[in-house]
Amino acid sequence: MRETRPRSFYVLASVFALFLLFLYGPMMAILVLSFQGPEGGLVFPMNGVSFHWFEKLREGGGQVEIGPALRRSFRLALLVMVLTVTFSVLAGLAFRRGFRGATLLLYVAIASLIVPSIVVSLGIALEFRLIDDAIKSLGMAWGIEWIQRDFVSALGPFTSGLGAHLTWTLPFGLLIMFAVFNRFDPAYEEAARDLGATPWQTFRHVTLPMIAPFLIGVAVFGFTLSWDELARSSQVMGADNTLPMQLAAKTTTVTDPEIYALGTATTASSILLVLVAFTIATLLQRRRQRG
């Protein structure tokens, strides 16, 4: 190996440093501005230092009313996370064994990633509108009273919204499972089977512990992709809003740093979540290697 760095190294290193500045600079700006005093505005210079905007955010009633949207987004993200992990692991196992239509399913999953989100969102909204019409005309035809009286729409965060998010998280989950199972040594499972383990026991006590650290990765992906999802959510949430939708709607009307406080809070919790998850994953990995 060469001892002295070529000149290109210094050029590229400064490009990389500028890239990091480009990535983090704006985030640092709102981080700093969110700690302004009560008189603070949207731009520098800082107007005092306080936790005023965070308190206002916690109390509610300011320009940014986030409570219900936040709880809804959180529940939805949890559900998306659980389903993404479960369905991805199951599908990963299926792809290992091989089945007719495997290639087709893979192509559909990849297509689901690259078809523009607005098209997916519109499609699901249309589909549910057709379902609504069908339910209503059924209600009329068969004289089902509650449909005629109460039914409005099947669109909602936990029906169409959940589906829209899964079309976005499942392809990532599946691709990660591919990467995991591609370098998974089946000898351990064969040993378990030779020792008389049932398929379930083999999965529960051999396969699952070995892939667990990567499943945490899939879970983090599933949660954060759903938590931040906006484009596919836009048409499918019915009368309700998710947190990113609420935020996007506020961007043009908000005039005080409360929105920066919200940005700082959500960014901090996302990063905390990722750090905790990867720490757990690393610990699991270590324990497995020691045991």
Binding site: L90, P116, I118, I124, L126, L170, N182, D228, L247
Partner: protein, 316 residues
């Protein structure tokens, strides 16, 4: 990110032998794999394939102010392209919007590719220790875990009329009045899209670069190739899969974008995605569906062209 884990695991020689994998595949072709794949297949069927089919069908339907009605008419497509052919060579709104969206696509693609390749190249070839490599790579990915709306909002204190950039320019005497084109403009849209999506170039290109056998580069140098020749004749062709994956991802995201163009353009710049969104708000579903079908065809044509482009170059 799994790709990096991939690469790192592979370079350590941790790969499971292909024979073992084939052996595991031979056994058991019962119903189990079908049951295991069923939940995922069902989700894609109900929430992806059927909606696409519904979009195509509804794009041929009629609509009134209150309802949509089954029909088979090309009226919606006619409305989308209303007067476009008659007015040529002047561009109608539809063509102008598509051209403007395409323009953003090409500019952002060029920016993210240049920046993404440079960063990936630095990480893959100039950072020598694996540990530093992983740390730098994680540094690039952390912003990915935060909301894109927040990442867009965070440009306001920098680029706004009284933002840091304008304050600096005025105090340096470069300009007397604040620059208005920094925020809510084409420039802001390109900047924000580059900011959001460069990572999608870095990850696959880095992955491709890490798979390149280093002895090939040594060989090129020994054979007398300059750094530039090594780059264009050896490294870039071998990084092609990564460049391709990143390009497809960035292009499809930008062509369908309505959020970034909406927020960073101050809701003043047209894009295909925004047209669809607006028509949905006005309950013009068949019209929105027709636009969606056209957008879909345009995007798939773009992806197909990219794949072709690469294949042709391979054959030359």
């Amino acid at each position: 990110m799994s790709d990096t884990a991939d690469t790192i695991a592979e370079t350590r020689g941790n790969r499971v032998s292909a024979r073992a994998r084939r052996a595991s595949r031979r056994e058991g072709h019962g119903a189990a794999p079908y049951l295991q794949a069923a939940p995922m297949a069902l989700v894609f069927l109900v929430f992806f394939l059927l909606p696409l089919a519904a979009t195509i069908v509804v794009s041929f339907w009629q609509y009134t102010q209150y309802s949509i009605e089954p029909a088979f008419t090309a009226q919606n497509y006619g409305e989308v392209f209303g007067g476009c052919l008659a007015r040529l060579p002047d561009l109608c709104t539809t063509f102008e919007t598509y051209l403007s969206t395409l323009k953003f696509g090409v500019i952002v693609w060029a920016c993210t590719l240049t920046l993404g390749f440079t960063v990936a190249y630095f990480l893959a070839f100039h950072v020598r220790s694996l540990k530093v490599q992983v740390i730098f790579f994680l540094l690039c990915t952390i912003p990915f875990w935060t909301s894109i709306v927040i990442r867009m909002i965070s440009w306001i204190p920098l680029l706004g009329r009284n933002g840091l950039v304008n304050q600096a320019l005025i105090s340096m005497g470069v300009t007397d009045t604040p620059l208005e084109w920094l925020l809510y403009s084409d420039f802001a849209v390109v900047l924000a899209l580059t900011h959001l999506y460069t990572l999608f170039m870095v990850v696959p290109i880095f992955n491709s670069l890490m798979r390149i056998d280093r002895s090939l580069i040594e060989a090129a140098r020994d054979a007398g190739a300059s750094d530039l020749q090594t780059l264009t004749a050896v490294i870039i062709p071998l990084a092609r899969p990564g460049i391709l994956i990143g390009s497809i991802f960035v292009l499809t995201v930008v062509l369908g974008d309505f959020l970034t163009i909406g927020i960073m353009g101050g809701q003043q710049i047209a894009s295909v995605g925004k047209i669809i969104q607006t028509q949905m708000q006005f309950l013009q579903f068949p019209l929105a569906a027709a636009n969606a079908v056209i957008l879909l065809v345009a995007v798939l044509a773009g992806v197909w062209a990219l794949l072709k482009l690469v294949d042709i170059r391979k054959e030359l």
